[in-house]
Every structure is written in C-alpha cells, then in structure tokens.
Symmetry: none
Subunit: 226 residues, 2 copies
DNA sequence: AAGAATCTTAAGTTACTCTTAAGTACCTCT
DNA sequence: AGAGGTACTTAAGAGTAACTTAAGATTCTT
C-alpha cells in the first residue's frame, strides 16, 4: 500500500512512518501544502493522510482539489483541534475518515485498514483475472485454484498488475509504486527484472504469459487476445 | 475477551475497567456517541457495554446501527432511568441484556458471562478446528481430545487465531487485540514471537503447523491445503 | 510475604527475502 | 548482418525478520 503523509510535524511524521512500515506500507511525505499538491498530481497513492493544519496552506483546499479532479484516492484527515465544524466540513468534502490529535498509531492503522477495505475492492476482498485468483484477506494467490507461494514483493507486484491490467507500466512506475520515492536516487531499475522473473516462474504456464514485455517501455498485464 | 465500554461517566467507566481487568478482559472505552460508532466500525469487540444515555447522542441509535450492519456482537445496555419503555425497546432492537444504574459490578460480571455463554459461538460454547477443540466456558483447549495446558495469553492467541482462520494477521493486529490499544507506544513487538513459540510447542505435531509464518507480514492460521 | 506461575526483555542464532552483479539472450535500427 | 542497447537469467551476499532460550520482572496464590 502506498501512502502519502501530508504532515508538517516532523516527529509525528517519523513515528507514523516507522509504525506503518512495519505493516510493509510504502510511505512518502509532504511537509507543506505545495509539496503535497505536487506529489498528489504526479504520483499515484493508495491513500492520503492529510493534516488540515499545514502551515503553508489549508488542507481542506487540498482535499477539494483532489476530489474536484475526480480522483478516488481515499483521504483520512488529521486535525489538531477537535472542532466539529472541521470534521463535518472534511467529511462533506469527501474525506473518508477523521482523526483528532493526539491519536494512537494502532487507531490510525485500523482506520487505514477500514478505509481500504470498504474503498478499494468494493466490499469484495477477492481479485481475479482468468485463472488467477487472489484472496486479499489471506494474502494468497491461486492459479487454477492451486495456491502459489509468493513473497511480499511478488505478491504486491501481482496485485499491482491485475488492478492495472491492460495498462503499460514502466519499470519506473512499478518501482515507484512498490518501493516509494526514496528509490529515485537509484540509477538502475534492473532489480525489477528479477522480481518479474520470479513472478513469471511462479505463475505457471499460461498465466505467466499475461505479463507481456513492451520493449523499451515496460510491462503490460493482459490476456492473449487483447 | 475484548470489550468496548460506551459510557460517559468517567468514574463508572474506570471502576468497570478495573473490575473487568481482574478477569483479564481487554477493555476499551468510548466517551461519546461518535467515538463509539467509530470504534465499533473499526475494531472487533467480543462485547459492547452500552450506556443509552450518552450526552452526544442516543445509545439506541447506536444499537440500531450495529444490528443493521448484521454484526453479531453481543450488547448489554446500561441505563440510568428504570423506564420500562427503554428496556423493552432495547431488547427489541436486539440487545442481549439490560442493566439499570446503579448496579453491582459482580452483577455486571455474571451477566457478561451469561451473555458470552449463550451468545458468541452460535449457542455452542465450543470452537474447533480439525483436531483442535476449545471449550470456552472452561477455557480449556484439546488436541485430539487430550487437554493441553495453556496460559491466558496462549489461550487468547489460539482463540483469536481460530476465529480468524485463513486471514493474515500482522503482529501489530494481534498485539492490539490481545493487549488493547495502549501498546502502540511500544517500539518492538518481538514479545509476540515468544508467545507464538510457546503455543506452537504446546500444539503438538500436526496442529503446530497450522500457525504459518507469513514472512514480513505476520501469521496465518490455516490448514495444509489452502 | 514467600513461592509459583506467567509475562516480558534481551541476546544469540537461524532462515528468508531482496538486491547486486555478471553473463547471456534478444530486439531494433542502420 | 552487426552494433548497441534492452531484457532475461542465475547465483551469491547483505541485510532483515523470525525463532529460540534463558533470565529478569511481574503478577497471582497460598
């Protein structure tokens, strides 16, 4: 799960990241309003954690912006003041949940899970593509009803492919989504090849062909006849 | 047993917690209507203690909400006024029992036990998974009909695993369910390893394999061929 | 208050995944 | 067809996560 944390209190930022990393989420941060706007418009996040009291601007404006652009990214608002007005306004603008500082990190964690649960997969916790099926609850993938053993990265990669089927995904975009933005200092994305290789091997026979190489561009997850 | 106490009288809240903690229940609190709704939607409780005279809203509405969502969580209603109407309405809405303030804590305790006994596992107070059987009222686990000696934490862990079989549970989630929400200040969940270790040792042979490690994620309680 | 049982901390060990690196195969364009 | 770049494959090392033990704290019992 790739999460943007728009929060200017560095200590809070850090402890959130530390905690969420333990659940193997990819976290990126924006310390001010403008950075947040910029990152949201450039990258794809699965969730945004938005402090509405950012020094450089009003978080609610950012929320408006996101929703105006028709993006369906779930947003959880963080606020220092317990004002009911803020809460109501935030939820009216389309925020998915609301947290008041100070909060427990486990609380945050559960809300993230709840939001993701009801948001993304439309109540159905299974994803499938032809003979491939993924039970997200169990984090278990199947090919023709046979379970296949995937590592975390392989699993993430497969989920990312299937939820973005028929789209060409560059190595950079994939890396960005699975590793986060501290990866752009890296000068080679060759390690992607290894994970692709592993995943292909584990998706036996037919299913392996779904991962098509688009030469010089990236990969596309698709059916034979598309 | 994880219990939510929706009660805005702080002193009563505290004495209930103090009392229930002696029975090794995990208690969490909600001091207003909104907090209660939020917590119920996020966390999984084994029981809710609901004061219907919360300042910020009507407890009966909350009860309606819970039952409407099809949740099977047992609810015990607490009320200050002895109005029969409230009582009847509460029980009609699906509350499992009803207490009028002031009440003795021992009274509360026995009602909790009664509700749990008849409520939780479909009238059957036994939980089982293949060769594992648990008699919840005796808090006794068996493997192949042979009783095994578990400590409280080991027992809780096993029950949590079996009632959440086939789901990946992170160390954090497990810790939260077994230790309550004051554990997020902790910066290491390594102690979980120890309890897992003990439980595995006590679930002899085959049964021990049901607790699968999901590397970098957590644990999953499941059968061989899933 | 002492003893027993349980839980937590800590440190050493083992095992797993991810990444790196280097060699090979493939594609495209001239 | 050959050059140059791009993708694939494999194996090994680094780093991290999980496991195991035992001893130090607690908590519970008597």
């Amino acid at each position: 799960m790739k999460i943007l944390i728009a929060e200017d209190e560095i200590t809070l930022q850090e402890s959130i990241i530390k905690f969420l990393n333990r659940d193997a989420h990819i976290c990126e941060t924006a310390s001010d309003y403008y950075e947040a706007i910029s990152k949201v418009s450039i990258y794809e996040y699965d969730l945004i954690l938005l402090d509405i009291n950012l020094i450089t601007g009003n978080g609610l404006d950012l929320l408006k912006l996101i929703k105006k652009e028709g993006k369906k990214i779930p947003v959880i608002i963080i606020s220092a003041n317990n004002s009911l007005d803020d809460k109501v306004e935030g939820l009216d603008l389309g925020a998915d949940d609301y947290l008041t500082k100070p909060f427990h990190l486990t609380e945050l964690n559960s809300r993230i899970k709840a939001v993701m649960r009801r948001g993304k997969y439309d109540g159905d916790s299974n994803i499938s593509f032809n003979e491939i099926k993924i039970k997200t609850d169990a984090m278990q993938a199947y090919v023709n009803e046979k379970p296949i053993q995937l590592t975390k990265k392989e699993y993430d990669l497969l989920v990312y492919f299937i939820t973005n089927k028929n789209r060409v995904l560059s190595k950079e975009v994939i890396a960005e989504h699975l590793w986060g933005d501290n990866i752009d200092t890296v000068d080679s994305f060759d390690f992607i090849y290894v994970h692709i290789n592993h995943l292909r091997k584990k998706l036996t026979d037919v299913a392996a062909n779904y991962i098509r190489t688009v030469y010089r561009i990236g990969y596309k997850f698709m059916d034979e006849d598309m």
